[in-house]
């Protein structure tokens, strides 16, 4: 297993919001965690990125390394875990190119950086046309492309995606997921967090359902799509 999460607990100001979460992801898989507003999806990703501390007793391992001993910047630069945060969080005052370059801040493998950059432009040709534009002035769809491209540049052993469909028109959403599938084909593991359960389950091979900080269901996507409880709660009947 590439990513092993056991008994993950997280609290904000001493209030527990994740009550011991367990899941694993194998290299190359596409896995999704679906759940309602406030269920703890973003919190889970932020804990993996080490942006927020995990409570005592939590276990997180990536390729056999103890994630809990890593600072957030080293999670990216040394382990190759990239994170597309909720709301994209582009640096609107930097250009498209600068956003992509900044993501390579700690990388030293110049040749591979060049190849990765080409790969990003192959997947999102639009970005190449807008290199010198301030990223704050991109359209919503372009911003999402840049957010994913930027994460890819920072490292791509595994990509954590927090609601990449948010704010995209249906057609754009589909092409975004096509792009993600392409990235996955090149060897990047994907952990996707979504409110749009139908879309997420169609995209992923396996899924987990999170409710109030607990994983309540898991299984192959097809099974979850057929599950009456999931249908009722997340797929609109």
């Amino acid at each position: 297993m590439q990513l092993v999460i056991r008994n993950l607990q997280v609290s904000y100001d001493k209030i527990k919001v994740l009550h011991g979460i367990d899941f694993t992801i194998a290299k190359g898989e596409i896995v999704t965690i679906i759940g309602a507003n406030g269920a703890g999806k973003s919190t889970t990703l932020k804990a993996i990125s080490r942006l927020i501390p995990a409570d005592k007793g939590s276990v997180m391992e990536f390729e056999g390394k103890d994630l809990l001993t890593y600072q957030p910047d080293r999670v990216v630069s040394e382990l190759g875990i990239s994170h597309v945060p909720e709301g994209r969080r582009l640096f609107g005052n930097l250009t498209v190119l600068e956003n992509l370059q900044l993501a390579t801040f700690a990388r030293k493998d110049r040749e591979q950086i060049k190849k990765d950059m080409e790969q990003v432009f192959a997947i999102f040709p639009r970005l190449k046309e807008r290199l010198t534009q301030a990223s704050g002035t991109l359209s919503g769809g372009e911003q999402q492309m840049l957010a994913v491209g930027r994460a890819y540049m920072s490292g791509h052993k595994i990509m954590l995606l927090d609601e990449p469909s948010m704010g995209l028109a249906p057609l754009l959403m589909l092409s975004m997921f096509d792009a993600l599938r392409e990235i996955n084909k090149e060897g990047t593991t994907i952990l996707l967090v979504e409110q749009n359960a139908r879309l997420a389950l169609k995209f992923a091979q396996r899924g987990y359902v999170i409710e109030n900080g607990r994983l309540v269901l898991e299984g192959p996507s097809a099974d979850l799509l057929d599950n009456p409880d999931v249908k009722k709660a997340y797929l609109g009947g």
Binding site: D73, F91, N93
Partner: protein, 307 residues
């Protein structure tokens, strides 16, 4: 007209001091969203370190019997002092501010004030209450341009200040560390996701700000050669005003506002009795801030988003 031009020269010199110090406030604010209220005292420490280096270099030259030119001593003093003072900034970040990074901003502000007091009284304890006189490293030469008198020192002060500001501009626009600082000013929480270590970026920012303050300290000593442990307080507050006036976290704004402050002060003193100088000058600035509460280049929106 002559006096007018003469005052412009003086305003440029004072503006240089304010701008150099204001940059340090702004840089730190733009990446950590805190004002380092010990910054005025770092200016003071820089001036004292400059005093030590200059005196030491002169003594060394005398001992060796070498006729080292004063300008060389001056340039070396600036470079070495900037370097050494940057470590004061790094130390303050590490010991004073890093433990409080998640703490309320008010605690960090108070920490800054306390560090300032420690630097002032520490200096007092170490060197005593007597004032030091900064060695006059170069002879003053006065040039007459038309009917305006300009000294070589004033030219030097303004030229060095502008060069440092230009260098800082290049650093921020062209290097990857500068790019990280710009990103930080936009959204500091997303920066670690780029693989950027805040624990390296923050000390670097303090180091640069402190180095610039040290340069200001030495240039100030060159123009007004009396040093005392409290010399950084008023100048520091005024530079802080410039940083606010320029717009929180705006580097360009801080530099421009520093010069504007110099102009307002000098011209207030020219038009009104000199005891009215600060009263008039800061009333004007208060008025400006009433109409532009975010300063010249400040952003109205807060970038303090939750990730």
């Amino acid at each position: 007209m002559d006096l007018f031009l003469q005052n412009i020269v003086n305003a440029l010199q004072w503006g240089s001091f304010y701008a150099l110090i204001a940059l340090g406030y702004s840089m730190v604010y733009s990446i950590l969203m805190l004002f380092n209220f010990a910054h005025g005292d770092i200016f003071m420490v820089g001036a004292y370190i400059g005093f030590g280096i200059a005196t030491g270099l002169l003594a060394l030259a005398a001992m060796a019997g070498l006729p080292v030119p004063g300008w060389l001593v001056l340039v070396l003093t600036i470079i070495i002092s900037m370097f050494l003072t940057s470590f004061v900034g790094i130390f303050i970040e590490r010991v004073g501010y890093r433990p409080l990074r998640e703490a309320p901003r008010a605690s960090a502000a108070i920490t800054g004030l306390m560090i300032g007091i420690i630097l002032e009284t520490g200096n007092l304890a170490l060197l005593g209450a007597r004032r030091l006189s900064f060695p006059s490293l170069i002879d003053t030469v006065t040039f007459q341009i038309g009917s305006v008198y300009v000294t070589n020192k004033k030219i030097f002060i303004v030229a060095v200040s502008l060069s440092l500001m230009f260098g800082l501009h290049l650093f921020i626009q062209k290097t990857k560390w500068g790019m990280a600082m710009r990103a930080m000013s936009y959204d500091f929480q997303a920066v670690p996701l780029m693989g950027v270590s805040i624990n390296k970026l923050a000390p670097l920012t303090f180091a640069i700000g402190s180095g610039l303050a040290a340069a200001a300290g030495i240039l100030y000593g060159l123009a007004y050669p009396v040093l005392d442990p409290y010399m950084g307080i008023l100048l520091g507050w005024k530079a802080f005003v410039a940083a606010i006036l320029g717009g929180r976290g705006s580097i360009l704004g801080a530099a421009l506002a520093g010069f504007l402050l110099g102009f307002i002060e000098i011209f207030a003193a020219w038009i009104f009795p000199s005891t009215f100088r600060d009263l008039i000058a800061y009333s004007i600035i208060l008025l400006i801030l009433t109409f532009r509460p975010h300063g010249f280049f400040g952003q109205a929106h807060s970038t303090q988003l939750r990730l």
